[in-house]
Symmetry: C2
Subunit: 360 residues, 2 copies
């Protein structure tokens, strides 16, 4: 157990939670490992695209003085935390942590192509700058580098057996994630999605890597299958907490903190959880209005306002937050089955509270 | 050594070579293993796209009575042959063989999106039927299934150490292949590509998987690093033989046998080897003509005829075939360093001759 763990900040349940200390604790190690996993940009122009996407360089391959926000590195953080919470050596989990972040970013690069999104983290997206064909190969490269990072875990003293087991887990969850992306695409063209369909989709699209990240971290710490399965169940619940809160922020989040404008997901006609809920709950004229608006090729500000009003009428925000907090409770409950030291238990509480109530 | 190996047909050097017996020998095993690697289409509509691409079903997921040509399965065949030639157990190499074919098909599905090709093997391409976004996820799934097939090689009695080594090799060569695809994209926008640049590009784009397939087959048969390195060198030469002959057929091949119309690669403004050679060799007015034609957004039949005439003038067909046969000699020479039984040596001769002079 490293220094600083006990100094973690425990947010009160009423104020806006701050980023838990575990994110800061692993940040430098994750970045170092990621950088190690990526060949230098001089080798090929292709790596310029990857380094740009990661926020390390500008579009010309020049290192940026103040790297733009690269996201929270949620998946690597969860993986390293699970390993340390089970008294494992953090170093052993670093290749898996880097692999998770690379695979996650592979999905972002391809998602941006699929959704024709021109901006991410306040920057033009890779395909928007270099074209869809280059974006496609950049994403594929990111994925290959992720796989390779983990396959090379022997340099951290991980046995071939464990490396293989963890690699299978990563590949299976990556396939699940892709399956979720496919379902997401299919939902775009459908009007009759139930909240149940939606929860199944996000369990794959977002949930798979969050769950496998925690399971991988546990597997790298201990041979006890009960522990890794418990962390997997914790991860399944946590994935739902994360995504439903993400959907909430995509509509009602503050632009300055989320980097997305309020109502943004509505403007992009995204069928995120609150909208799916409203389509399921609304009846008569209200439902027809909603269907009519979502059948348009693009939405104006009046349409966005009307959707926001419908969401209000059916209580979508409150329901989304209720489901988030229910999932948070289930997450904590799942983890009760494993013995954890006090510092880890405290950090779990802090983490779950953050993911359920974060503003960014 | 199985029955039938000695009965292989040895084509005379003057007649058109027929498909070597090794392709037929491994075909059923490869198909069985591939089918085993792919979840059934009932699980998800996504696998319908994959099964369709493989030629197993029609676009509605219905099994086809007479499956369309699925290609030669060159990479799996090379992998299994290398394993058997070194007296290895064929069964051990089956997961690697299936992985190679899946990774190769992943690259085809994505290539079709990049090149906006609407037809492959006389059938509409996946993206053309289901859209680019679905084509993208279908390709990604194919890749994940390939990785997983190999990671599960333990069921064929392969040790974790060897599985890991072979998986690293596959992932590294897959990254090389993607790098080649990226170079290929860049070449489209450039007029000053040398034949040297081109050969470097195809060494990645086509050569990497052919080389690694042979190396993987060798690694699964023997722990002797000299043998697998020899097969890798053989594969590097063989990849060049295969691709330059492919480029030749893309321009001068017979439509009925290649499935592509004569001059097809010119019509698509592909900068394949003969064209790169002509751009390098031609001077003055001839070169200007060529550059002018290749700068047009599309080519009419008169343009195609003019390019064919220029290729004739500079002797591109003869030069391409000369390089193919020189590479074939280098391939055979590379393999002299390893001890092989007579049947395998005879099959190598037959294979190299086929790849250098095939008509399809």
């Amino acid at each position: 157990m490293g220094n600083g763990k006990m100094g973690s900040h425990t947010a009160s349940r009423t104020s806006t939670p701050v980023l838990p200390a575990m994110f800061g604790r692993y940040k430098a190690r994750v970045e170092q490992e990621l950088s190690h996993s990526m060949p230098s940009a001089q080798d090929s122009s292709l790596y310029t695209l990857l380094r740009y996407h990661m926020g390390w360089t500008d579009r010309y391959g020049r290192a940026v003085a103040a790297p733009v926000s690269q996201g929270k590195a949620l998946r690597p953080t969860l993986c390293l935390f699970a390993c340390e919470a089970l008294d494992g050596d953090l170093t052993r989990a670093l290749p898996a942590a880097a692999a998770l972040e690379l695979i996650h970013n592979f999905s972002l690069v391809h998602d941006d192509i699929q959704d024709r999104d021109v901006e991410r983290r306040h920057q033009p997206t890779v395909w928007h700058l270099w074209g869809a064909a280059k974006g496609l190969v950049a994403g594929n490269t990111m994925q290959g580098l992720g796989d390779l990072s983990l396959l090379n875990a022997a340099r951290m003293g991980v046995s071939p057996e464990t490396t293989l087991k963890v690699s299978q887990l990563l590949t299976e969850s990556c396939l699940e994630m892709i399956q979720g992306q496919c379902l997401d695409l299919e939902f775009e063209a459908r009007t009759s999605i139930t909240t149940w369909d939606y929860l199944e989709m996000i369990a794959c699209k977002t949930g798979a890597l969050i769950r496998s990240g925690l399971e991988m971290g546990a597997l790298l710490a201990t041979d006890d299958p009960a522990s890794s399965q418990t962390f997997a169940r914790f991860g399944s619940c946590l994935g739902r907490v994360f995504q439903i809160r993400d959907d909430y922020l995509g509509i009602w989040g503050d632009e300055a903190t989320t980097g997305k404008s309020t109502g943004n997901d509505i403007r992009r006609r995204k069928k995120s959880f609150p909208v799916v809920f409203a389509l399921e709950r609304a009846t008569g004229r209200v439902r027809e209005d909603l269907l009519q608006i979502y059948s348009q090729p693009s939405l104006d500000e009046e349409d966005v306002a009307r959707v926001l009003a419908v969401l209000d009428e059916v209580g979508a925000a409150a329901y989304a937050q209720q489901l988030t907090e229910e999932s948070a409770r289930q997450a904590l409950q799942a983890l009760e089955e494993v013995h954890l030291p006090d510092w880890a238990r405290a950090e779990v509480d802090e983490l779950v509270d953050f993911l359920a109530r974060r503003e960014y």
